[in-house]
Amino acid sequence: MYFLRSIFKKVSFKQKIFFTVLLCCFIGSVIFVFNNYSFYERPLAKVVKTTIEDVSKVNSVNGIEDKLYTQHIIAELRNGENKGKEIHLINEYSQSKAYDHEFQIGNELFIKIDEQMEKDTELTGTILEVKRDKYLLLVGWLFIFILLIVGKRQGLFSFISLAFNAVILSFALDIYIQTSNQSLLWICGISVIIFTVVSLLLANGLNDKTYAAIIATLLGTFISLLITYLVLLITGEKGLRYEEMQFITRPYRLVFMAGLFLGSLGAVMDVAITMSSSIFGLYEKNNDITVKALITSGMEIGKDIMGTMTNILFFAYVSGSIPTLVLYFKNAAPFGYTLSLTLSLELARALAGGIGIVLTIPIGLYTTLFFVNRKRARQ
């Protein structure tokens, strides 16, 4: 009893330290991000007064009526040599706000100060960008806190794995930028192996379940990539419109393939770990279960998850195109042309990911069976 109590105390003490450190990080970073004006080189200003100077109706194509507002803004500079001085800015925005913004008192903006012709006149400038870092930080912390409250220890581990993967990805891209263009697929292949091993080990620990899932994930991802590659080769990439990727000065086909590779990885990992842990679960409950029974139950589980898993990828990819679609339709672009131009890459990604998910079901099943049989032979 005393022993249990001491463990309880020890754990809660560790947790206390953990939460204190976390809280300090949270408060420290929030104070920093609300007061980091001097860390930016570009001038920053906070809006103190806004007045609408002019409203005009605009008729654009197809009789669409939009309104244009001209806003006079007085803002107070927050950094640089003119800190504390007031500056006058002009902002134009439309009712639809597809590219412009309506500013309100308290908004913080990056600006460019115009050169003064004479001394002691009012400062004027142009608006460059909105200061968004604080919102990003707040949403990030909210995510971390919800993850920790709901997920506790597992939440912490999944956060560590996500953060670690993000760092690896950024590092891999740095290597790609600095070396030759041809190596992107290799860099991605190696990072995919690292991502898989790290994420699955952090989620499930060192055991046979994890090993089976790692092998199944790698096999599933590489086979589905091979299939997609063959499809692209056979069809001569007919129907794929790369226009929306042409802003990068890199071989965009390769970047597209790498993105496809990476994008389906999470889903494939999810399927692999679901298959291996449920089959191991069945085996552990009943050590005498036949291989045939395991295959039947494994396929049932696979059928249950494949529909919703493919839909996750579908929505994550296709939804991002909605603003572009609306803009095209509003500008009376033809329906088929719009769809092929804006959605072809997203649909190809979703379909290729779906192939990866479905293939991983039997691959995961038989890899796990191999590990189960090995364990059985040992006993």
Partner: protein
């Protein structure tokens, strides 16, 4: 032959072999969902319809397809459906707040070049459309997590009919914790894959950290990812509570 047709054909073939009847239904569900998105986009062109309300309706229809059409109408899909809707509405309110504050609507200056030939004055409210994009990116993952929690909870309740509401709730939470990591992972990699071109571009332009963090494109993508993460995490306790509430109450009635 067209790439998309061939890929879709291969997917249908694999789903039919492995999933049988249910596989065909899963494949058709993707098409129905595509139809729902297209109808939503077309209706968004009408400025008199509020895009947020349109999105809520679309989410209800999509959850019906994902839960009732693929998995049938039963107690586990019903509770998953209710939890999905509640979670979506809570998330929606938060996204509306953050989109307005962070001003991440519409297009960034990096994207505007390729849209140069179009008029951007289209009288549709892009703030609301951005809210809709963020919630629609997550809806697939939210329904998946909801059903993944409610379905084993029904099994537990079936095998231990005398379980108390609190015990059922706690075992549901523990199931939820196990899938939390992989659900978040699925979404994160999907978004990383989708944004890979953009990330390379930011690295190529050698933006400073300050410029990247404050740029509209980067912050809107990050907020989308984080909101998606919040959504799949939040749906776990909601589903657990609702499922525990309904299953144990049902027993008391009978």
């Amino acid at each position: 032959m067209n790439v998309l047709v061939l890929l879709a054909g291969i997917l249908l073939f694999l789903m039919t072999i492995i999933g049988g009847r249910k596989g065909v239904r899963s494949f058709l569900a993707i098409f129905f969902n595509f139809g729902v998105i297209m109808i939503t986009v077309v209706l968004m062109n009408d400025p008199t319809i509020d895009p947020v309300i349109l999105t809520i309706i679309a989410c209800v229809v999509i959850s019906c397809i994902n839960l009732f059409y693929i998995n049938g109408v039963n107690s586990k899909t019903k509770t998953a459906f209710l939890s999905t809707i509640i979670c979506t509405v809570i998330l929606l309110l938060f996204i509306i707040f953050i989109t307005n504050k962070a001003m991440i609507q519409g297009f960034g200056e990096e994207e505007i070049g390729e849209l140069g030939m179009f008029s951007l004055l289209v009288e549709v409210d892009f703030v609301k459309i951005t809210v809709s994009v963020i919630i629609m990116s997550t809806i697939g993952a939210i329904t998946d997590t909801a059903i993944a929690v409610s379905s084993p909870m029904r099994e537990i309740h079936f095998h231990h009919p005398n379980i108390t509401r609190k015990e059922l709730f706690l075992s549901g939470l523990s199931i939820g914790r196990d899938i939390l990591g992989t659900s978040a992972n699925t979404l994160f990699f999907a978004f990383f894959g989708g944004y890979l071109a953009l990330l390379i571009w930011f690295k190529d332009l050698s933006y400073s950290i300050g410029e990247v963090v404050n740029s509209k494109i980067f912050s809107s993508e990050m907020i989308t990812i984080l909101c998606a993460g919040i959504g799949v995490t939040l749906v776990i306790p909601i589903t657990t509570w609702i499922t525990a509430y309904f299953f144990v109450r049902n027993k008391e009635n009978s």
